[in-house]
Assembly symmetry: C2
Homo-oligomer: 206 residues x 2
């Protein structure tokens, strides 16, 4: 329960963010939000028109935060491969799942263009960023020319989002880590010792 020096509206949004992450939209009631925020009914309906309005504010903030965090890693130092690896291995509370991705399993979120928009925008932005990095890697010869940036980016993002599913199903982060490891092994640019300068046409590195 938030309290010190923070506005009530702020506490409502933060409590909603937590509950949306833990229980999703359909699983989160105004009552639960109010209890966690330490506020009464009146406060919520004073600052927001209702549950969807408050959820929208919470989702927007969560989506923006996730996008910024992902882009910080992707725009960090290192080769294209290293930046993708950094993204895949970045610290995660795997069993909690993705606070943005989980919303796509919420029927009421998907049914609302307004609630779904921030989710879509964030995943799409990260995907585009990764696609660009893959294209960079192709230019530098780190990735083979047969790779399609957009497709690989979708695979990278899907591996993360699906990794959460496998981890939560088994109750252990191991499957998430395995999925990431598998993907990195497929992406890995290796030294290709060839005879007499012969070049592996697939990998296009020497």
């Amino acid at each position: 329960m938030y309290s010190r020096g923070v506005s009530t509206a702020e506490r409502l949004i933060e409590s909603t963010r937590e509950l949306l992450w833990e229980r999703g939209y359909v699983g989160t009631s105004p009552k639960a939000i109010l209890e966690r925020a330490g506020a009464g009914q009146g406060s919520m309906y004073h600052h927001f028109t209702g549950k969807p309005d408050l959820a929208l504010a919470a989702i927007r903030r969560t989506a923006d935060e996730l996008r910024a965090a992902a882009e910080a890693v992707l725009d960090g130092p290192g080769t294209p491969y290293e930046r993708i690896e950094a993204y895949l291995r970045r610290e995660r509370d795997v069993l909690r799942g993705c606070p943005v991705g989980r919303l796509t399993m919420d029927p009421d979120v998907v049914a609302s263009d307004e609630l779904r928009a921030p989710v879509d925008a964030t995943l799409d932005a990260i995907r585009e960023r990764i696609a660009g990095i893959v294209e960079e890697g192709k230019e530098q010869g780190q990735f083979g020319p047969e790779l399609d940036g957009e497709a690989i980016a979708a695979t990278v993002l899907a591996t993360v989002q699906g990794g959460y599913v496998l981890a939560r199903a088994s109750g252990s982060p191991a499957a998430f880590d395995a999925g990431v490891r598998g993907l990195l092994s497929l992406l890995h640019p290796q030294d290709h010792p060839t005879v007499r300068g012969a070049r592996c046409t697939r990998c296009s590195t020497n």
Copy 2:
């Protein structure tokens, strides 16, 4: 609404399966189930002890069905690569998501060992089957020896589960297809024209 020649218990289970797929566990009420099944309160509490009990029957059936369908494709004809490709490309109603995987985003399902068990068992069985196929492919030289069957299997499954997330976020199956395409391009065993029999150490095919 089911009716002809099917028992009430059967109609309750099938209605629950549909609703769990559409709205998840927390989003599905006994009332909605009864309406869809065309049954009254009494019938449900006669055949089942309550919502969790009915949901368990529904989840078990859905999990068993999915497992059988996946294994049918994975045990089909073709090379290891082709069988994995067949699994990845098998017909799916992408925007509906995975009826089993989506349950991992349900707080009440994950909180219950009993409800989570069939979900875990099914995903795990498919993963093991794929891992075995990858190992087969390594023995046959179709996949490089540096690949780890368990890890690749997790990547394959995660790409599918995560593909649903991306597709539902964007409201289009395109991202799912892109993720699959990306993964297949990474897995693809290609002819490696080399000079003077030089061998690409990564791909271990000629």
